[in-house]
Assembly symmetry: C3
Homo-oligomer: 206 residues x 3
Amino acid sequence: MSNINISFILEALGTFAFAISGIRLAAQKDFDLFGAFVVGFVTAVGGGTIRDLLLDTRPFWMTDSIYLIWTLTALLFVILFRKYLIKMNNTFFIFDTIGLALFTVVGIEKSLIAEFPFWVAIIMGTITGVAGGIMRDICINEIPLIFRKEIYALACIFGGICYHVCHINGLDQMFTQIATCSTVLVIRILAVKLKISLPKIKGENA
Amino acid sequence: MSNINISFILEALGTFAFAISGIRLAAQKDFDLFGAFVVGFVTAVGGGTIRDLLLDTRPFWMTDSIYLIWTLTALLFVILFRKYLIKMNNTFFIFDTIGLALFTVVGIEKSLIAEFPFWVAIIMGTITGVAGGIMRDICINEIPLIFRKEIYALACIFGGICYHVCHINGLDQMFTQIATCSTVLVIRILAVKLKISLPKIKGENA
Amino acid sequence: MSNINISFILEALGTFAFAISGIRLAAQKDFDLFGAFVVGFVTAVGGGTIRDLLLDTRPFWMTDSIYLIWTLTALLFVILFRKYLIKMNNTFFIFDTIGLALFTVVGIEKSLIAEFPFWVAIIMGTITGVAGGIMRDICINEIPLIFRKEIYALACIFGGICYHVCHINGLDQMFTQIATCSTVLVIRILAVKLKISLPKIKGENA
């Protein structure tokens, strides 16, 4: 299978998993079908949209209707299989982490093509990975989950540093992409399995 | 009366009604005059602003101070006539629906001028119509109303489909605009009168 | 000391104070280090970012890593000195107000360079000063403070009017900047000392 086909499938899985996470939370909050669709779409494409606005390029989902179609598929999936969703949590977790890894790489590469320095590219990779989830939680009126729990954004940042190290050492692009994705995947999976989280910031009254 | 004058008046009514809806909710939440103004302005111009950022064109309200003036008028109106606002609910509903219809058409046409495909134009029409209300509800820290109640965005989507059908059949632009607005108006009014709403999305525990 | 050095130091103080305000609120909400950093950064650069997106120029913090560094410094500061933060409230208040004044001037001048009319420049100055705080409060899931309390945005608006009056009278740019900053500072400090606030907007049931 060619490289393009693999990344197409991985990106689809990631988009699907991100949309599913938004739609499931919308369902818990008593949203209607339209609200669930919007929250799913925002979760799936929100991070890349903010990145594209900051980079001043056309938002990626406006050039290809596939992201809309994947979100509609996710909506249909939740409607049809809602009783089995909990049992699929591990699968969704893997898809979601694949999405996170892939979105990070896409964000970094788009920024480097636009000739931004590496520290901007790492931030853009992280925004691509996490901002959709932040917008999702704002839409359902909750404090964004990733501000309080789990190593999530940090996996993107380490992925970005890995990309940078490969890049300055002149390594092959495909190797760099795979190494970056693997870094994000390993850190995220280890953090969840070993229940590692970032320390809380202590307030003045703590 | 010329076409330009009619659409000027209708757009003013829509802006005014959108601003009023934001200011009234701000009043319920104990906002001060500045907060009420901001929420009114965000409700009135937020959807079009997000559309223009996505389309990479200058935000429409930055080229003409009339939107600012309509929002200030709405603020003054709420201050002066607050005791009579509830009695005017039906009037506001009509103005608001006119705004929704007109904003949808403006969003579609701006996207087509920018040479986007029709599915993007329909999304942009819908964003123009509904995103201001979503931003309003985020500002007052509530779950966006349109995610849970009423046929609202769906009216924009059907309006967009109507525009598309007229367009591919080569119908006159003014007829197309009137047909689109009428579609939005009729669907929205029927949905409210007949209390039709979209089904909820069921969660895994439902 | 040259003009550039002074404004560099003042801008640093403002960025630092804005970031501190976000990080302290994040700490009250049980955020982890990453969440606190994001909220601090959003508070510090959010207003200028929205301004730059609306003006269609490159977001200022993407061209210089100093804003990132100031936010990291603020994070470290809160971690190290959290027991003494309350005692420093007056100092933070002064820094924050300096930031507000300076950000207002930056927002106005960027808009005028982009050849927008003065009423747009005043709005952009105000957005630069206050939108970061609004985004901060949305991130921590609270109603934005400035919609309900204190004269804050109004100080920016009066600063903007002062800039306009100096400008149309052909006064020297440096004098205009100092007069504008002073206007913002005096109004903000007087409002807090004299406990002046804007009237609430009364709802229909009040």
